[in-house]
């Protein structure tokens, strides 16, 4: 049922460039897809495993820069750039995660936050590599099999295929026994250990996979923008991913995917009121949190639980 709905939604999204010729709307579609993927990756570590990672912003930035540098500085192509972005991020995540995940969840939050700030500093100050505050402009759109994805609608297909593939992968992971084990670790780690399961490999893999996916998403997004500079590491992105996860319902795969699409479109839908739109957006978020403190998915689940309690009484 859910899968059929998801398939339908994916196909509807694929049709977007056929429905409009506005590059502006298609651009929003690209942001919606990419932000949803990044949020789903954050959901894997935060929603499922219970590790609040601010490192996502760093992975996003590293992914963008690695992909851009692969193409511009090292003469590779966009696709290999994405592969490198994913690989390097996974390795970085293993290097940070291995020592940090041995401590506690609070230390993990601090270290990941510091890491994100550090990546920002590197992007700005390692001028030889990143070209500093000026950034790397004119990132060329990719081609494959002789076909050039030069226009925004054409690049939209790339984004769409990437996002669907990533979401399908994350869904397969989250809905498997691995996903269930991650939820178990979040809920009761000592019990997981008492049942013969070592939490460390699970936590570390979730963190690394999330980093790889976020990095590749950053790579695609940088080529959508056509330029990468230190603003790519603006906290705005982290905040967006986090809001999507929390409003959608941490730990709910489809809740976060739905929130990803809805919340990317919402600020644009509010453009009828140019002066107040961000204020309205903020008010909607605050009200949503008051009414549904564990997100839309959490709210639906609570209703379901209450029904069950009634039945069993």
């Amino acid at each position: 049922m859910k899968l059929a709905a998801a398939l339908l939604a994916a196909l509807a999204f694929a049709a977007l460039p056929l429905l409009t010729s506005s590059n502006y709307i298609i651009g929003i579609g690209i942001s919606a897809l990419i932000f949803t993927v990044a949020a789903a990756a954050l959901n894997l570590v935060y929603g499922f495993t219970g590790l609040l990672s601010f490192a996502q912003l760093g992975f996003w930035g590293i992914g963008g820069y690695v992909t851009a540098l692969t193409v511009v500085t090292f003469g590779g192509n966009f696709w290999w750039g994405l592969v490198w972005a994913a690989l390097i991020n996974a390795l970085v995540a293993l290097a940070i995660g291995y020592p940090t995940l041995r401590t506690n969840r609070h230390a993990f939050v601090i270290v990941t936050l510091t890491f994100a700030l550090l990546v920002t500093l590197i992007a700005r100050d390692w001028v030889d590599l990143t070209r500093g505050p000026l950034g790397i402009p004119n990132l060329p759109r990719p081609s494959a099999f002789g076909y050039h994805f030069g226009t925004t609608p054409q690049f939209y297909w790339v984004t769409w295929a990437f996002s669907v593939a990533m979401l399908a992968f994350l869904y397969a992971l989250c809905s498997s026994r691995i996903g269930r084990t991650l939820i178990a670790i979040k809920q009761n780690e000592p019990l997981v250990r008492a049942q013969g399961i070592s939490p460390m490999p699970y936590k570390l893999s979730a963190f690394a996979i999330s980093a790889a996916v976020t990095g590749a998403a950053g790579g695609v997004y940088a080529f959508h923008l056509g330029i990468i500079d230190p603003l790519f590491l603006d906290f705005y992105y982290m905040q967006t991913f986090l809001i999507i996860v929390i409003i959608g319902g941490a730990g709910s795969f489809w809740g976060v995917v739905a929130a990803g699409v809805a919340l990317s479109a919402l600020p644009e839908a509010l453009r009828f009121s140019a002066d107040f739109r961000m204020i309205i957006y903020g008010v909607i978020l605050v009200v949503a949190m008051f009414v549904m403190p564990s997100g839309v998915a959490g709210w639906l689940r609570e209703r379901e639980l209450n029904r069950m309690r009634e039945q069993l009484r």
Binding site: R180, Q187, L191, R193, A194, G196, M308, L312
Partner: protein, 265 residues
């Protein structure tokens, strides 16, 4: 009968206080063994050290002929020792079915590739776990909660879920940390009956508990700890009349205990 769990000279101290000062005991295969003692006598520390949740300072722990001393908790669980916790631990936001399935998943041979491809090995493992889970759910009388999130259950029912989860992978020994503490008295009897039935079916239990009646009814053998040392060991009857035990545990002399029992009768 042979010892399934053999603990020799177990030592543990916190900041100079000897929580365990050379405790040795054995649990026979197929038995129910009680571990009792006043608060602070070292019972909980002992089972935490045995199950790998605390580092022991010294001593040897052998499970079914295999030395498990100093191993990590998940290794000890894989070796066949399952435990429950004093403050009940279950996955409150998963349903009963998933709670039990997770408890068994480390013990089947199915890998994530098996799961991805839905191989026969995976399907058999899931089916086997499900059969076992249904059996246990029937036994603890929670069948109608099969699909329900365990968070909605009462405290006593949660303890039963924790017990069932510990039994899922057919462990060599199950260590229960205060299985009836905080449980409604009417339910205590149910747990007692369930444990006796499981024991008849071949399960071995080591039980830490304060409820003397529960221990007396259930245990073949009782070990008494006091101030980190083994004070006495024997059948429940022997323990009841042991002067040292009465003194340490109840602060009574045998004469007082006898007088009380006569009074009760």
């Amino acid at each position: 009968m042979s010892a399934i769990l053999d603990v020799t000279d177990l030592r543990k101290s916190y900041a100079g206080v000897h929580a365990l000062d050379g405790v040795s005991f054995a649990v026979e295969a197929g038995s129910v063994t009680g571990l009792i003692g006043p608060n602070g006598s070292g019972k909980s520390t002992a089972i935490d050290c045995i199950s790998g949740f605390q580092k022991r300072d010294g001593g040897r722990i052998v499970l079914a002929g295999k030395d498990i001393s100093g191993q990590a908790a998940h290794h000890i669980a894989r070796a066949g020792l399952m435990r429950t916790f004093q403050t009940v631990r279950i996955y409150e936001r998963l349903n009963l079915r998933d709670n039990l399935a997770i408890a068994a998943q480390q013990f089947d041979a199915a890998t994530w590739v098996d799961e991805l491809l839905r191989t026969r090995r995976y399907r058999q493992a899931v089916e086997k776990a499900e059969t076992r889970a249904l059996e246990l759910v029937e036994l603890i009388g929670l069948k109608r909660y099969w699909e329900a999130e365990t968070g909605i259950l009462s405290y006593g029912q949660k303890k039963l879920v924790a017990l069932a989860a510990a039994l899922m992978p057919h462990p060599k020994i199950v260590v229960l940390d205060e299985p009836v503490a905080g449980v409604n008295p009417s339910r205590i009897r149910e747990i007692e009956v369930a444990l006796a039935e499981l024991n008849r079916a071949g399960e071995t239990f080591l039980i830490v508990e304060h409820n003397v009646e529960f221990i007396t009814n259930l245990c073949h053998r009782v070990i008494v700890l006091d101030q980190g040392r083994k004070l006495a060991e024997g059948t429940a009857q022997e323990i009841h009349t042991d002067a040292r035990v009465l003194e340490a545990y109840l602060g009574m002399t045998p004469e007082m205990a006898e007088a009380e029992m006569r009074g009760a009768a």
